[in-house]
């Protein structure tokens, strides 16, 4: 349900496989969100660290939240370097109904940005620089501060 890959994602394969997996589940709405690395500030790639045990718990909690609304969520993310114009992140919602799907994909993606234990680095001239200015302290930060 949660998929981690070394390097960039095969977005078409993921989209199609998730569609096929649910082809007889009678969901009326399928909304994937595809995140692609933008060329900006002279970067050649972004790079990602992931702490998988907590990401898995975060994702399992979301699967429970989705299930309570009759929906399911899916997620794929890259580990390590992803070049510009390639995709590092796909998440998706399947739901019987449109309104639930539209609200859930928004909440799921926003909470992912805020609370998934993933750290991003700019790759410039082969060097990995923590993207501190775009990073967000997780819920409950400062406990040891």
């Amino acid at each position: 349900m949660m998929e981690l890959y070394d390097g960039d994602l095969d977005t078409k394969e993921i989209f199609g496989r998730w569609l096929d997996e649910q082809s007889n589940s009678n969901y009326g709405a399928y909304i994937p969100f595809v995140g692609t690395i933008r060329a900006e500030d002279g970067i050649e790639a972004l790079s990602f660290d992931i702490y998988e045990p907590i990401l898995q718990k975060w994702f399992d909690d979301w699967q429970d939240r989705a299930k309570a609304k009759g929906a399911i969520v899916k997620m794929a993310h890259s580990i390590g370097d992803v070049p510009v114009h390639k995709s590092s992140y796909v998440s998706a919602v399947f739901s019987p109904k449109r309104r639930v799907a539209l609200e859930l994909i928004d909440e799921f993606v926003e909470d992912f940005k805020a609370n998934a234990p993933i750290w991003k680095y700019d790759v410039i001239d082969g060097k990995r620089i923590y993207a501190e200015d775009r990073s967000t302290p997780m819920d409950g930060f400062g406990l040891l501060g």
Binding site: W119, R134, S135, P137, L144
Partner: protein, 73 residues
């Protein structure tokens, strides 16, 4: 002993310390400026569960993870 792990960009090796509670851990970590500068912005997990209670008790063998600001996607 409590094992403390520093995730992502903090870039420190794990350490093992004696501590009964988070205040002990905080006091210990603040001695190292390369760690203490992160603490205001870091969240904490105990045995891979996120915690938010500053009075969470610790016991021998526990693992604390220090999670700096995130940016997935």
């Amino acid at each position: 002993m409590i094992r403390v792990e520093f995730l992502g960009p903090i870039g420190k090796e794990p350490i093992e310390i004696e501590a009964d509670n988070l205040l002990d851990v905080s006091n210990y970590l603040k001695r190292d400026e390369s760690i203490s500068k992160w603490l205001d912005k870091c969240a904490v997990a105990l045995n891979d569960m996120m915690i938010s209670d500053p009075n969470t008790p610790l016991k021998d063998g526990d693992k604390l993870s220090i999670l700096p600001p995130v940016c997935g996607g």
